[in-house]
């Protein structure tokens, strides 16, 4: 049977256009063909998780059943009681499959766990978000069809953007007027074509043409060299255009289906500081971490009065957030160092911002200082991507 990974080759886009055409016609007449939507979603999931990837398909089904049972179970419990212990247990259970998938290669000579499938980490974010909102009493009931659609929404299944249940549901249930849908389509087409430019031209140039050359030169030179610096910039460009291109496709296709999936990138390379950068880079991930980990943790520490010092609490929050993000990327030294590096960078950034606020009159602010800030941030970020790339591991330890 045919197998295709999302947004990889032209045929996939042709199939998308054909498959989505009835949905578009329906939407233009302000109708949603739910049954057709479900069938087409199923077929596209089958295209990605069927054929040679059937094992992943089974893992996806098993995972979905497990998480649905968990959501329904916790919801039923939460209607009667609200113990922290049960909440913690529910979160642990929700991330358990992901933890097994991440940890098992370490103990099984690098072999991938049979529980794994493309997109498992992104699905886990959605589920954990739901569990937390059930705990807060904001999600009081779920509809089976809607929650399945949310979890398995095919345009974003492989790598996000990470949507949120209540936001998704609002779009899913909303009646969209024809002129509003025209505007959505307009944006969708723009995003998809911008995605083509990003992924198939720019990421191809940086990632497929340039990167292997720079990599070979850096490795043959060995140790620190200007080639490593070149690798750093080329890798950063490839990483951005590849992921931003993918995200544009995912958002564009969501729009066609009447769901305004949030954007993932907002010109990250013009960030003025690291804090600004995380408000622009992989936004649905960083906002998820901000809202569900950082703010909850800070809230908890302050409410229970575990610590007094505001700065110290913020720093504990940052360290926790970025360490978890590092581990989430994978259990290698360079992902964890990447997390720590960003934690330290943002802690220093906060300290600088406090200092700047205090001595406002003495610190110059002009076009030049702004350019310097952007340049510095860009380089700090690119260096973090060099760590993230694992290239240093190859260069020095393999």
């Amino acid at each position: 049977m045919l197998n295709m990974q999302p947004y990889q080759d032209p045929t996939y886009f042709v199939l998308l256009a054909l498959g989505l055409l009835p949905i578009m016609i329906g939407m233009l007449y302000e109708k949603r063909f739910r049954v057709y939507e479900t069938i087409i979603s199923f077929l596209f999931l089958l295209l990605t998780f069927g054929g040679v990837k059937w094992e992943q398909g089974l893992a996806l089904i098993a995972y979905t059943i497990f998480e649905l049972l968990l959501i329904y179970g916790y919801l039923a419990y939460r209607k009667r009681k609200n113990a922290s212990l049960v909440f913690n247990l529910a979160v642990i259970l929700a991330i358990l499959p992901l933890v097994i998938v991440k940890v098992s290669p370490l103990f099984d000579q690098g072999r991938e766990s049979i529980l794994g499938f493309l997109g498992i980490s992104y699905l886990t974010f959605k589920v954990v978000g739901m569990i937390m909102e059930i705990r807060d009493g904001i999600i009081k009931a779920v509809n089976f069809k809607e929650v399945v659609h949310f979890l398995l929404f095919f345009p974003t299944i492989s790598s996000g953007p990470i949507d949120r249940y209540r936001r998704f549901l609002g779009d899913y249930q909303k009646k969209i007027k024809r002129d509003k849908y025209f505007k959505l389509l307009d944006k969708a087409i723009w995003y998809i074509f911008l995605g083509f430019l990003y992924k198939f031209i720019l990421a191809y140039f940086f990632g497929t043409l340039l990167l292997p050359k720079v990599s070979a030169l850096a490795l043959s030179h060995g140790g620190w060299s200007w080639w490593v610096v070149a690798y750093m910039y080329v890798y950063a460009m490839d990483l951005f255009f590849d992921f931003a291109g993918y995200s544009l496709f995912a958002v564009g296709i969501s729009y066609v289906m009447g769901v305004e999936t949030p954007m993932n990138f907002n010109k990250p390379f013009i960030s003025k500081n690291i804090k600004d950068f995380w408000n622009r880079w992989h936004m649905t991930l960083s906002f998820w971490f901000r809202d569900y980990i950082y703010m909850r943790l800070v809230f908890f520490i302050m409410k229970k009065k575990l610590m007094k010092n505001r700065v110290a609490i913020a720093n504990v929050g940052y360290l926790t957030l970025f360490l978890i993000m590092g581990f989430w990327h994978g259990l290698t030294w360079y992902y964890i160092v990447y997390g720590l590096y960003h934690a330290v960078a943002i802690i220093l950034c906060d300290a600088w911002l406090r200092f700047k606020k205090k001595h406002q009159e003495k610190i110059p602010h002009n076009k030049f200082t702004e350019a310097l800030a952007i340049f510095t941030t860009f380089n700090v970020v690119c260096f973090s991507f060099l760590i993230f790339s694992g290239f240093l591991d190859k260069l020095f330890f393999v």
Partner: protein, 76 residues
């Protein structure tokens, strides 16, 4: 009520801008960060008796002094 909210905001942002411009975007301008947001929620809880879970907090609904005042009044 308006005064209580503005006092809290002034204290947390360390600036009277929130009093001068009730429609200023406190997140865009960097006046309030996530840490400050959590403090604001705790202060609102203590001083105004409203209970906002962190996950209920939707930035676009709380990004100006006017919106915060309206929110607090609607929740009391």
């Amino acid at each position: 009520m308006q005064d209580t909210v503005l006092d809290i905001l002034e204290e947390l942002t360390g600036s009277d801008e929130v009093r001068n411009d009730l429609d200023i975007d406190i997140f865009e301008t960097g006046l309030l960060d996530s840490m400050g947001t959590v403090q604001m929620l705790l202060e609102l809880q203590a001083q105004c008796g409203i209970d906002v879970p962190v996950s209920e907090f939707e930035r676009t609904e709380w990004n100006t002094p006017n919106k915060i005042i309206a929110k607090v009044e609607s929740m009391q």
